[in-house]
């Protein structure tokens, strides 16, 4: 057991798991070994389901241990099985009403469900019991920011950093808080510090990238929209989007009766807004890519997104403009194809879901293939009489894509 624990703290979870399994081979009813095995497995990629099996074996041996239920809840949260995670956290709270880990576990499930107010309530209890708990403190800062309670969020972060100036999570939280308050340079400083402390902290890298993107004023407006939307649960966000669609349709009808041009402009503005929401990240990455110092922060997927989505959209816009200016229909068609293809493109290169990545990359490639066909046809090298129909179909496909993009399994990394 001790050997396993020593290995675990030396970042050797695989070896530690093997050591705990060795203990279990001798003593299969050793609760502590099952628990430590679960902790080790939690740190190995793609072994979360095995960690669940291990923690459940520990619970079977000692069903009255609140710590085990709290960890079961945390594992289930990571596995996105939130209903069971709630039950496990409730069991932990019931078994040890005075402990704080159960409340943190409960808050984590609430955070996963974007129930920020609920999460805050449980974290308050946890922090009342253990005011110096770093995890609870950081979660609290996060939930406060998500609710737009920026003053309280700032106070929590200041307390966290005063207690531990070398807390990478604290600096990361501070960075996001600054970003939400439009203090972009401060955000950059905090994210850089968080990354200095833990260069593999992905949330900090993503934050640093956002602060680089925010160097572009146009991207800042998108960030503000994102921060506003994130206050709501997924369900409410969906209602807002549906509400916006209905409002645009009603307004178009009303405006169309007064002036058809005004109605058309409204629809155009709406389409541009939708397009912008989808491609903003690609444009932001293009901005970063053009910055010699900042571009190193991009990973290969983000670079591809910058080139194919950001670059593709701008090239498409230029071709569309040139087509209109010179009255060349094929140029307009290629421009439109490249512009709409940037919607699936935005979901292709940085998508953590393998299925989503394959699907949207296929859609993006189909768009560019269509663009090539139009170009070849215009040069007389290719006979394709139904190109305009194909373009219409492709635009429709990209509209469908905006709906598919809201399906979580096509946007999130698989867990297990």
């Amino acid at each position: 057991m001790t050997r396993g624990q020593l290995l675990l703290e030396r970042r050797r979870p695989e070896d530690a798991a093997a050591a705990f399994m060795q203990v279990l081979a001798q003593q299969p009813d050793y609760t502590e070994a099952h628990f430590w095995l679960a902790l080790a497995l939690m740190q190995i990629p793609d072994r979360m389901k095995d960690a669940l099996v291990a923690i459940e074996a520990a619970i079977a041996l000692d069903p009255e241990a609140p710590l085990l239920h709290a960890y079961r809840s945390r594992i289930l949260t990571i596995l996105r099985r939130t209903r069971e995670a709630h039950q496990a956290a409730d069991s932990a709270m019931h078994l040890d009403p005075d402990g704080n880990l159960a409340y943190i576990a409960k808050a984590e499930v609430c955070c996963e469900e974007k129930q920020w107010a609920e999460a805050e309530r449980y974290l308050l209890i946890a922090l009342n019991r253990e005011p110096d708990d770093e995890l609870a403190g950081n979660l609290m800062a996060h939930t406060l920011r998500m609710q737009g309670k920026l003053e309280q969020n700032q106070a929590t972060i200041e307390k966290l950093l005063a207690e531990d100036p070398n807390s990478c999570m604290g600096h990361c939280n501070a960075g996001w808080s600054c970003l939400q308050q439009s203090r972009y340079e401060d955000a950059e400083t905090h994210f850089a510090e968080a990354l200095r402390l833990d260069p593999e902290f992905e949330a900090a890298r993503a934050g640093l990238l956002e602060s680089f993107r925010a160097r572009s004023p146009i991207y800042r407006s998108y960030l503000k929209y994102c921060f506003w939307m994130q206050r709501f649960t997924a369900g409410r966000q969906f209602i807002i989007i549906i509400g916006l669609i209905i409002a645009v349709r009603v307004l178009r009808e009303v405006l169309g009766r007064i002036s058809p041009l005004a109605g058309g402009l409204l629809v155009f503005a709406y389409i541009m807004l939708v397009l912008w929401v989808w491609v903003a990240s690609g444009i932001g990455n293009l901005v970063v890519l053009c910055d010699r110092k900042a571009r190193v922060a991009l990973n290969s997927g983000e670079r591809m997104e910058a080139i194919c989505v950001g670059g593709g959209l701008i090239a498409g816009l230029c071709l569309l403009g040139a087509g209109v200016l010179f009255g060349k229909t094929p140029l307009q068609m290629i421009g439109i194809t490249m512009m709409v293809a940037s919607v699936p493109g935005a979901l292709a290169f940085t998508n953590p879901s393998p299925l989503g990545r394959r699907l949207f990359t296929g859609m993006f490639a189909a768009g560019w293939a269509l663009g090539v066909m139009i170009a070849l046809s215009a040069m007389g090298l290719f006979e394709a009489p139904v190109l305009d129909t194909l373009l219409g179909g492709y635009i429709l496909l990209c509209v469908v894509c905006t709906w598919l993009g809201n399906i979580p399994s096509l946007r999130r990394a698989p867990v297990g």
């Binding site: 624990q5 020593l6 030396r10 970042r11 990354l195 593999e200 190193v296 990973n299």
Partner: protein
């Protein structure tokens, strides 16, 4: 004693629980209750005769009761019945040593280690050596370089070697080095760096000392896994004609308080006795982990011990070159990178084209090959480590074997087969560089990882 009572009560409730009985017997043994231990072990063997632990425990219990002859007879019987069981031989070594038969003890101890290296027992090994067990030929110090003095400019080792030089403990870590830089294909830049940072200072000791610099000391090799850090370390030892000791994490880490530190000290002592020596620590990031990551004070004590050994506080490390290899230099405690410790850092990148071609040639030996073009394979395997190339070969050989079984005759592996197999193997170094890039970009204090940035062609 409270534990013992608790175990007794538990056994009373569950008298046929073998693991519990084993635990109780071991606890009795530890408490010096040999007779009771023997009774419990006997019960274990009644319930499950295949329990070697209980057999060994019984002999130990008998020995503790002062019945040496009975213990010897039982141990001989165990070794006869189960000659592949190292613990039996280890026990025989202890018993023979107690009887004053150091030579036999040494033989049995060697036999035990042959069967299971994990049975290394420093105290026993030293006791055998102190008892004057004969020195075996292969345990003698490394040969002296031409001209009477070796590359370290040391006196012939035999003159200053204490008798414990040949302890079996050392033998379990010692490797015969039969490679030097000529045997390492490619990697010219790494070799040149090692020549300048390690070999030249050792071969020109006076020159260095004139500038107030010391030769020897610690060198850290880092890079992606499977890229030849161990090989280049062995070759370095071969270049300076020194004894080479390879130490892994599992050989040092011990669950008992203070034992890891003791083992580490013994390892350094062993190298000091057999100088000139190269002490190679694989996966050094685990042994020299960042103290902020360690929850237990025991872990920190081991690190303090390691630092003290490196500094030469306990004994001088003259002519002992300490090499550390790691895939994760960023997890090392910063104290290890200070001057006088691992202050020379060498980046070992994935093998270059020439090195890959050499690896392919080596791997192709003793396999039915036809039309082998190592360079063509090397060109198609950019970013592949030695381990990845091994996987390519495995895939190609499996495919050829399948064909051979269908046709009933040997089907040779071709260059095309290797290139085809390459498509199904992803270079493992890619993932390493993804992590390394982050450290090089965001935590590159003092330009520690500049070579990674250079390799990735990133200019900040």
């Amino acid at each position: 004693m409270e534990n013992l009572d608790a175990l007794r009560q538990a056994v009373a409730v569950s008298p046929e629980n073998v693991p519990l009985l084993n635990l109780l017997a071991a606890a009795c043994l530890k408490a010096g209750l040999g007779e009771e231990a023997q009774t419990h072990f006997a019960r274990v063997l009644e319930l499950d005769p295949s329990q070697i632990e209980a057999e060994v425990g019984t002999i130990e219990a008998v020995r503790r009761q002062g019945k040496g002859s009975e213990a010897v007879v039982r141990a001989e019987s165990l070794c006869e019945r189960l000659p592949g069981e190292g613990r039996g031989w280890l026990l025989r070594a202890k018993l023979d040593l107690a009887e004053g038969a150091a030579g036999a003890a040494r033989r049995w101890y060697s036999k035990a280690l042959e069967l299971d290296r994990g049975l290394a027992d420093i105290a026993l090994s030293n006791e055998i050596a102190d008892a004057g067990a004969p020195v075996s030929e292969d345990a003698k110090p490394a040969p002296i370089a031409s001209g009477g003095a070796n590359a370290f400019g040391m006196l012939p080792p035999g003159e200053s070697m204490p008798p414990t030089t040949t302890s079996d403990f050392g033998e379990s870590y010692r490797e015969n080095v039969d490679v030097d830089f000529k045997d390492v294909g490619g990697m010219e830049s790494v070799k040149e760096e090692i020549r300048m940072k390690i070999l030249f200072p050792l071969q020109n000791r006076e020159l260095f000392e004139a500038y107030g610099k010391k030769a020897g000391g610690g060198v850290l090799l880092y890079g992606p896994p499977g890229c030849g850090k161990t090989l280049i370390s062995r070759a370095t030892a071969g270049e300076i004609d020194a004894s080479f000791f390879s130490i892994g994490l599992h050989q040092v880490m011990d669950m008992w308080m203070g034992q890891s530190e003791q083992k580490l000290h013994e390892i350094f002592e062993m190298a000091r006795r057999q100088r000139p020596a190269v002490l190679f620590f694989d996966e050094i990031d685990a042994l020299a982990a960042d103290r902020r990551d360690l929850r237990t004070s025991a872990g920190r004590t081991l690190i303090n011990q390691f630092l003290a050994e490196l500094d030469g506080d306990i004994a001088k490390n003259d002519d002992v070159l300490i090499l550390g290899a790691t895939n994760a230099p960023w997890h090392l405690d910063a104290a290890f990178l200070r001057p006088g410790r691992f202050d020379r850092i060498v980046f070992v990148p994935p093998p270059d084209c020439e090195a890959r071609a050499a690896i392919v040639e080596v791997m192709a030996r003793e396999k039915p090959m036809t039309d082998l073009d190592p360079l063509a394979v090397a060109k198609k395997t950019e970013g592949f480590s030695g381990a990845d190339l091994m996987a390519v070969f495995d895939q190609a050989v499996d495919a050829a074997l399948e064909q051979a079984m269908k046709k009933g005759k040997i089907v040779p592996v071709t260059t095309k087969d290797l290139i085809r197999a390459r498509k199904s193997v992803k270079p493992s170094t890619k993932k390493w560089f993804e992590s390394a890039k982050n450290y090089a970009l965001y935590a590159n204090q003092g330009g520690l990882y500049d070579e990674i940035l250079e390799y990735l062609d990133i200019r900040q």
